[in-house]
Subunit: 318 residues, 2 copies
């Protein structure tokens, strides 16, 4: 239980206070038809309606506003192809400092545009982890900017935890709380918030079979990196980190893997029935529910819908 | 002002009470980016999240629950290719009576499925107004079912009016309230609710240029039928009715027409930025705002987002 001390109950409460002027209190939605389908009650915490379209705004804003004026003097930086890049750029602009973003050159147009819109300075690199890390080191040595890692950072995790704290406050208590897992920033935050505020709710994660490194790490007890992951859930490609893995080991009950077909089916069902736009990564927990109804029947389950940034011209069911 | 007496303030309040156990109190959403784009404040009343995916559930439920047991003994009926068909089927099932729905045989699969799902009995016909009316007469003579017209009916209009009453209660007062116009059921209800509860808010309608019969009727003062309408906004193809037209003449300030390109652009912007699924008809008022920003700048405008029933495999921006 060593990691409990890393992020305390008070850290999450403070994070929520710190970010509250800059983020949305997102709504919790439900759908009778989906409830009937599962035979239980499912509540969706809609972080797809969050600023910059994802829960990432919580962690990035908490991290940037936790820094001293001295620390942000030279700006902040990260490498990211996705929602963290936009969220960090936005948080930096709110704090009136610069954001240097290293992005793989094959990043989606929508994501690049979002970073530009929030005023981030982009440096493109080859789409490999090595190139991303090297380019970021060059950016740091040139600018002196402070790196904000997308998930392996206690300020980020405390920020992401506020989504679950808010969900429990709005619609709790729950039997089960779910989140998708990629690098584990959201899942760690979800697990800690559930531990502190959840009255014994179990935390269950969903992960794509095509990127099942967290599943393998969790059940083997040893860190397994993500190698050549293949999934439509583009927010879940990364490996667990040294901070997130132990929190997940201590506070998560189960990780369920799902196929690409299940993800697409769950995503389409939510679009059609709930009339909300969610990205593929966000559909992973609901896909796990549909594939394992026995676990969720007659239970009250909350799901963190992680984001809604989708290229509308490239939908998977075309 | 003769039509004021047709539907009183009390009728709308009673309708809201009557339907409240059966419909959602839908959320009101806003988007900072869209507000900046317009230079004013826009609030979206999300009837796309309504039961059966559209405001039509309000009117249909009010109409069905206004009838006596005697009147519903033989069921209810209508001809409709769209959301009214599903909403009426749902309301009938809630009241434990039958719904006979005449649908043109080229109706979309999604809409046909929705009617079936709510237990409506479908009779298909040729896709002409004449065939629809004749087939409905046959159904009535066979079944004795009570016809519930989709819009030219005071119980329907009083039901639709509750959306605006609720919007004003949730987020009012407004300078302007907007709705799209097809047959005028929603617009009449919006105009009456604004008149009774709106503290002087102006009502402005949006209409597709390719189906501009309401625009022509409104500005000529004489009823102009909808002939060969062509628009992606498939909820707005019908003509005004004898009940809706006078209410619109008395209580609407302006009707603005918009091109197909404007509708598609407005729809895509709302999907991308607000992460909500709205049908083309629902994008028409916001398209009118984007084309006429001078009218809406520095104003507070409420829009009734009419519905979210879209075939996700046939999106207009593909």
């Amino acid at each position: 239980m060593k990691n409990l001390n890393l992020i305390s109950k008070e850290d999450i409460i403070q994070a929520a206070k710190r970010i509250s002027p800059y983020i949305h209190k997102t709504p919790v939605l439900k759908c009778d038809l989906l409830n009937r389908l599962v035979g239980g009650e499912i509540l969706f915490k809609c972080e797809n309606f969050q600023k910059a379209g994802a829960f990432k705004s919580r962690g990035a804003t908490n991290a940037v506003f936790s820094l001293s004026s001295q620390q942000i003097m030279n700006g902040v930086c990260t490498h990211s192809s996705g929602n963290h890049a936009a969220a960090l750029s936005r948080a930096a602009r709110l704090r009136n400092c610069e954001a240097f973003i290293v992005m793989p050159k094959n990043s989606s147009k929508v994501k690049i545009e979002a970073v530009k819109q929030y005023g981030g300075s982009i440096t493109f690199c080859e789409p490999t982890l090595q190139a991303r890390e090297e380019t970021l080191r060059e950016v740091i040595s040139k600018t002196g900017a402070m790196e904000i890692h997308p998930y392996n950072d206690i300020r980020i995790i405390a920020g992401q935890a506020t989504a679950t704290m808010e969900l429990i406050d709005q619609a709790g208590p729950f039997d089960i709380i779910m989140a998708p897992v990629g690098g584990g920033g959201l899942l760690s935050g979800t697990a800690l918030a559930s531990h502190y505020f959840g009255n014994g709710a179990q935390v269950i994660a969903g992960e794509p079979s095509g990127a099942d490194d967290a599943y393998k790490s969790f059940y083997s007890g040893e860190f397994v990196p993500s190698v050549n992951p293949k999934t439509i859930a583009d927010g879940l490609l990364t490996s667990l980190g040294s901070v997130t893995f132990p929190i997940i080991q201590n506070h998560v009950s189960k990780i369920i893997t799902v196929s690409e077909d299940s993800i697409i089916k769950a995503m389409q069902l939510i679009w059609e029935r709930m009339k909300i736009i969610i990205e593929p990564s966000s559909a992973v927990p609901f896909a796990a529910i549909l594939d394992n109804r026995g676990i969720f029947a007659r239970k009250k389950t909350g799901i963190i819908i992680s984001g809604g940034n989708v290229d509308l011209t490239k939908l998977p069911w075309k």
